[in-house]
Amino acid sequence: MPFLLRRLYRFMTAHIDGILLSGILLLMFTGLLVLLSASNGSYARVSGQLMNMLVALGVMWLFANIPPHFLMRLAPPLFVLGCALLVGVALFGDVVNGARRWLHVGVTRIQPSELMKIALPLMLAWYFNRNEASLKLRNYFGAALMLAFPVALIARQPDLGTALLITASGCYVIFLAGLSWRVIATLFVAGLASLPFLWSALHDYQRQRIMTLLDPTSDPLGAGYHTIQSTIAVGSGGILGKGWMNGTQTHLDFIPERTTDFIFAVYAEEFGLLGNAVLLAMLLFLIGRAMVITANAPTLFARLLAGAITLTFFTYAFVNIGMVSGILPVVGVPLPLISYGGTSLVSICLGFGILMSINTHKKLVQT
């Protein structure tokens, strides 16, 4: 019996990275605490989120056990499928809240941009890995095209937040793949120069969000309301916070979407600067471990994919916290591992599963 148990234990943990897992569990636990407060002590949301977490951890275990080279083979078909679905959305998609983001597939409807979040870095990593021996400037150019096509489709939906996040993940891959500094500098200057044109291409509500960020009080009951109230929540938290379950902004309903995108306002109000420092430390711990895994990944594909996953995770966290504390425009990005919602949890844990797979399968590759 002990033998069987030990076998089961080894089967379960062989591809699990303990350090990464402990970081994830710590953040998840924090998330549940904040969620309990944000939902005014109701356990219904918390138990729902607990179920989401179990599913997400299951997905993580599954992907940790899939060897990276298998994923590599999956990359091109997944990317093509993603692009096809995006074209489908553009042609036949459902309009919800003025944006065409959803596609009906049989009984359910999906948001193909979610799939792109993982398919794109996977594809770029595959692409660079394939051309590893002879990386030329045109390869980078090709990668940029591969990036631009889905991003353009998503931006047209319009879903600027997702488009920017996918752009970021693609840029991380291209940067890590070794794009020369000279090109980077040139692109940076060109980018700055094209800002006015980009501005004119934005939708009114997108411009409004940016304007609101610069001066939230210009529209205190409209677009600025979220930012003003979440900033008040963060600021009134002070050094030690108002205490768990004691946030007035939270419990008197002043923070909109406080279980999802704005959950950080709840956390910052109740746990203060000290709590924020602890949260940043926990995130850094997770990112740091993921970077170590990235640095030690055996192949270029694994390195680029791991790097993209790691930095995308960071970007989500930064954009969300930056938005809640009023230094970034309001875009619909949840705080990874903390915000309520299954989709985000599953996709984040899927990424960590891939990281674990990369870390635990390299010995097998090398032997």
Binding site: G235, L252, A268, L300, S325
Partner: protein, 631 residues
């Protein structure tokens, strides 16, 4: 290994260089991550440490709302506890214009479930013009329970419309007390500014009403009370979640009047359908016993803002119901002036009571014939007779002998031509003619001069003489009280309803006129004679008490030289006013009064019976028989 490449050394170095470069790039991104997290931490530090105070204040301001609790307004009762102004609780339907898309649609929608009259709409439109759009304004008041239930069902259809439980002011006695009690009304912008200047505005947070006229206005400070404060925690929708602290409001003080509501009623009804005024005073204290101005108006119309149509009806009526005749209306005193003229004669030593004149029925002065009422004259007239039969000639001569300025100085002692200082606003001064007054009053030099001929008619209470019924009553009371004058006051005491403390409105002896008692007694005897055997005798026939009185008739238009005044030939609004002043009982007066009955002819016929009914009720508790009404 060797199968992988022809030149393994270079290949390995190359891939190691690649790896190094990758790790360098990764390290750069690591620095990038740290930098941005550092930026976040700085932002937290800024918000949570440096600006913490600011955001705490904002969070508290979000959270805590300070709600004023309006106090109950004090009630007003007469000397016997009969309520003249009280409060009752009822529902109003209120609209906050700023929260409503289309006012017309909303009101039409409401009208489909609750009765809204055109009058309500007009009143609402007028309120709308006077108020700010975020104020909640009543479209209907005094809703029935059924109407409330019907509104509750349809409530969701009317955002910005609320049914609110409110305290209403009601004046149960209606028009009878409209001028003395006055009324409250919605606070207007001018009143807000005044309150702000007095530093009382904070106490009116939560109050919609303020005293506008009468006692409601002059005792506003006492009636209003102190506003309470409730600190409540509110959510983002503005709904109160819980109460943090509560300072209860302090109700306003009650007013207990000297006024006798029953007496007032008797007096009001005694006028029949005549217009006029009556003021009755307790001579020993100056307390006002009755204060009638007829016609009155329904003060309840004004409480929630009067609709423009009702307003113009009241304001444009030829009967002038809005005019407070008792203290803001002025009338020539007519013959009621004579007793005071006689007293002046004694005072200045110009006459003795026994001195007589021979009355041929007129007095010639400067080629002008001043006529007596009695064409043939009264024959030999002494002071007593001059009052009892109301002989004009006696006073033409007397006025001429005294001169205008000595008359004015003496009459000023009795308060003629100056405000009495009664405790409601809007008192008129009237006109006490003198050379100085005329010089002040007119601008052209020939008008500024006083002509000796003008003094003659002043002697019989005509000419420039013009006094309020209140001044007349006060002068009568002073005479009845043997020359000691009190400031007339309507309120007896102010009562704190919690402590039951009474704050008396002290009877203030304004002055002792310093007139010899023997002189006063001469006049008082003559006044008793009027009611016993003179012009008041018919009205006071069979009275079981002795009273003093004096009739008077005030000309509204001048009669041409040589013409006779014939009542039936004169348009009603130009007919003479009937006056009567009286006091009783003669030995120890408890009431003194002045009556003016407009356009009613002789004082003896129209005004004295009113006085009789009032004195009967006051002294005997006797209500006039219903059939007497028109007499």
């Amino acid at each position: 290994m060797s199968e992988l490449s022809i030149n393994p050394g270079i290949e390995i170095r190359d891939s190691e260089r690649e790896l190094d470069r990758f790790r360098r790039r990764l390290a750069i991104l690591g620095v990038f991550v740290l930098t941005l997290f550092g930026l976040l931490f700085l932002r937290f530090f800024y918000l949570q440490v440096i600006q913490h105070g600011h955001y705490s204040t904002l969070a508290e301001a979000n959270r805590i709302s300070i709600l004023p609790i309006a106090p109950h307004r004090g009630i007003i009762v007469d000397r016997n506890g009969i309520q003249l102004a009280h409060n009752y609780s009822a529902y109003t339907l209120e609209i906050t214009p700023s929260k409503v898309q289309s006012l017309e649609d909303t009101i039409d929608g409401l009208a489909a479930i609750i009765e809204i009259t055109p009058r309500d709409r007009r009143r609402f439109r007028k309120l709308l013009e006077e108020s700010k759009s975020f104020e909640s304004l009543p479209i209907r008041t005094r809703l029935s329970d059924e109407e409330i239930a019907r509104f509750a069902v349809h409530r969701y259809r009317f955002p910005g419309v609320e049914a609110k439980a409110r305290l209403f002011r009601q004046y149960p006695q209606g028009e009878m007390f409209s001028h003395v009690v006055g009324h409250i009304g919605r606070i207007n912008q001018r009143e807000v500014e005044q309150l702000e200047k007095d530093g009382r505005l904070a106490n009116y947070r939560g109050s919609d009403y303020i005293g506008k006229t009468g006692l409601e206005q002059s005792y506003e400070k006492f009636l209003h009370g102190t506003t309470g404060v409730e600190e409540v925690e509110v959510d983002s929708g503005g709904r109160a979640v819980r109460t943090l602290s509560r300072t209860p409001p302090v109700s306003g003080n009650n007013l207990v009047l000297n006024l006798d509501a029953k007496l007032q009623e008797v007096a009001y009804n005694a006028f029949g359908d005549r217009k006029g005024a009556l003021v009755a005073i307790d001579p020993a204290t100056g307390g006002i016993l009755a204060f009638v101005s007829k016609p009155g108006f329904d003060p309840n119309l004004f409480v929630d803002g009067i609709d423009p149509q009702s307003w113009s009806e009241l304001n444009g009526s030829p009967d002038k119901p809005l005019l407070n005749r008792a203290s803001a209306g002025t009338y020539p005193p007519g013959s009621t002036f004579k007793p005071f003229m006689a007293l002046a004669a004694l005072f200045y030593g110009k006459r003795t009571p026994q001195q007589t004149i021979s009355d041929p029925g007129y007095f010639m002065f400067g080629g002008h014939r001043f006529r007596d009422d009695k064409v043939d004259g009264h024959g030999l007239v002494d002071m007593y007779k001059s009052i009892v039969v109301s002989c004009d000639t006696y006073y033409y001569v007397l006025a001429n002998d005294l001169g205008i300025d000595p008359i004015a100085r003496f009459m000023a002692l009795f308060g003629f031509g100056s405000r009495t200082g009664i405790d409601i606003a809007g008192e008129a001064t009237g006109v006490l003619p003198s050379t100085e007054w005329k010089a002040r009053r007119f601008s052209r030099p020939e008008q500024k001069k006083w002509y000796a001929g003008e003094t003659i008619s002043v002697g019989i209470g005509q000419g420039y003489n013009n006094y309020t019924p209140l001044q007349l009553a006060s002068a009568m009371a002073t005479l009845a009280n043997d020359g000691v004058m009190f400031r007339p006051h309507i309120v007896n005491y102010i009562e704190d309803i919690r402590t039951r403390d009474k704050q008396l409105v002290e009877p203030t002896p304004l002055r002792n006129l310093g007139i010899k008692q023997e002189h006063i007694q001469v006049i008082k005897q003559a006044l008793v004679g009027v009611n016993k055997e003179g012009t008041g005798a018919r009205a006071f026939a069979d009275a079981p008490y002795t009273s003093g009185g004096k009739t008077g008739t005030a000309q509204v238009i001048a009669i041409k030289q040589g013409e006779k005044y014939v009542e039936s030939r004169v348009a009603e609004q130009h007919r003479d006013h009937a006056l009567f002043i009286a006091y009783a009982p003669a030995d120890k007066p408890t009431i003194a009064l002045a009556v003016v009955s407009e356009n009613s002819g002789f004082g003896a016929r129209a005004a004295a019976p009113v006085a009789r009914k009032v004195l009967d009720y006051h002294l005997l508790g006797k209500l006039p028989a219903a059939t007497d009404g028109k007499n």
